[in-house]
Subunit: 177 residues, 2 copies
């Protein structure tokens, strides 16, 4: 395994923001040469697959500034400092959709952009949903949307569902049938 | 739809690197308040699902500096300036694995991290594979790994396959069975 490793020669912090940090690291490659790596550090996030009693996937419609576009995504959000992923998943699900889950089953965790970012998403399956009250963050404007499985696949085709975690979630729902 | 939109008040370029750019935008929210958005701009990428004649998924083992970890991922790479996604997919597949595909079927395109980055991956299915010669980039050190579907799902459980696009690819392969 050793032959792959890139040793850090120096790490230069370019930016530390509210959410992400940016570093440019100089690395020593396995062939003895030097190269630079641009790396975004992210606190990590959670996302939740929540299926209602009438077999609809709970989605959030929101404006994504990075894309300049409105998307349909499964409920998700960033981890607060020291927050357990399962607590974060419960909080975000309720804030964004009003739903509470009696059980939150961990599925798996994955990196979103391993080429330049360390963001990891912890994915959960919400079981035994109960309706509560929507209460989004102050700078968050979201609508609740519920779609059947066929509608989800149609939304993927239409590129309304257009992010990796939500496509992954729809596929997983289908595979669990 | 209008109520969601965030109007850009100002855009501040923080960094322009070899691969990514970082901006901090000030936005006007639908409620009239102002907020900041940290946005990574990325040239976009391709990824390819390639299944061999003996029903194994073609994967690339590589060190990911952002994760400080060795991963197993489907062949993928960044778009060069002006490059068509399908041409990029053919190039990256051959460079990283030595395989050439007679046909490259576009599947769909998805964003990897819509909360902070505009990176879009164009996903392809490689058909009629032919073996060629591996020829990675100068600063890229990769090994070819081929796994059966069962081995892929085991590698997801073991977190050797640990990124969204590759999990999505394995699931899609399973759904196409």
């Amino acid at each position: 395994m050793k032959k792959f490793e890139e040793k850090t020669v120096s790490s230069n912090k370019i930016f530390a923001g509210k959410i992400i940090k940016l570093f440019v690291d100089e690395v020593l490659l396995p062939n003895g040469q030097h190269s630079k790596r641009e790396i975004v550090k992210h606190p990590g996030a959670v996302a939740t697959i929540a299926v209602t009693k009438d077999e609809k996937l709970v989605l959030v419609k929101q404006y994504r500034k990075a894309l300049e576009k409105i998307t349909l995504e499964i409920p998700a959000g960033k981890l607060e400092a020291g927050e357990e992923p399962v607590a974060c998943a419960r909080r975000e699900l309720e804030e964004e959709t009003g739903y509470r889950a009696k059980k939150m089953k961990p599925l798996y965790s994955f990196y979103t952009s391993p080429g330049f970012a360390d963001e990891m998403i912890h994915l959960f399956w919400a079981e035994e949903l109960e309706q509560g009250r929507v209460n989004p963050d102050q700078d968050e404007f979201v609508d609740l949307v519920e779609l059947t499985m066929d509608e989800c696949f149609a939304a993927i085709e239409a590129q309304q569902i257009c992010d990796a975690k939500t496509i992954l979630a729809v596929q997983l729902w289908k595979l669990k049938e």
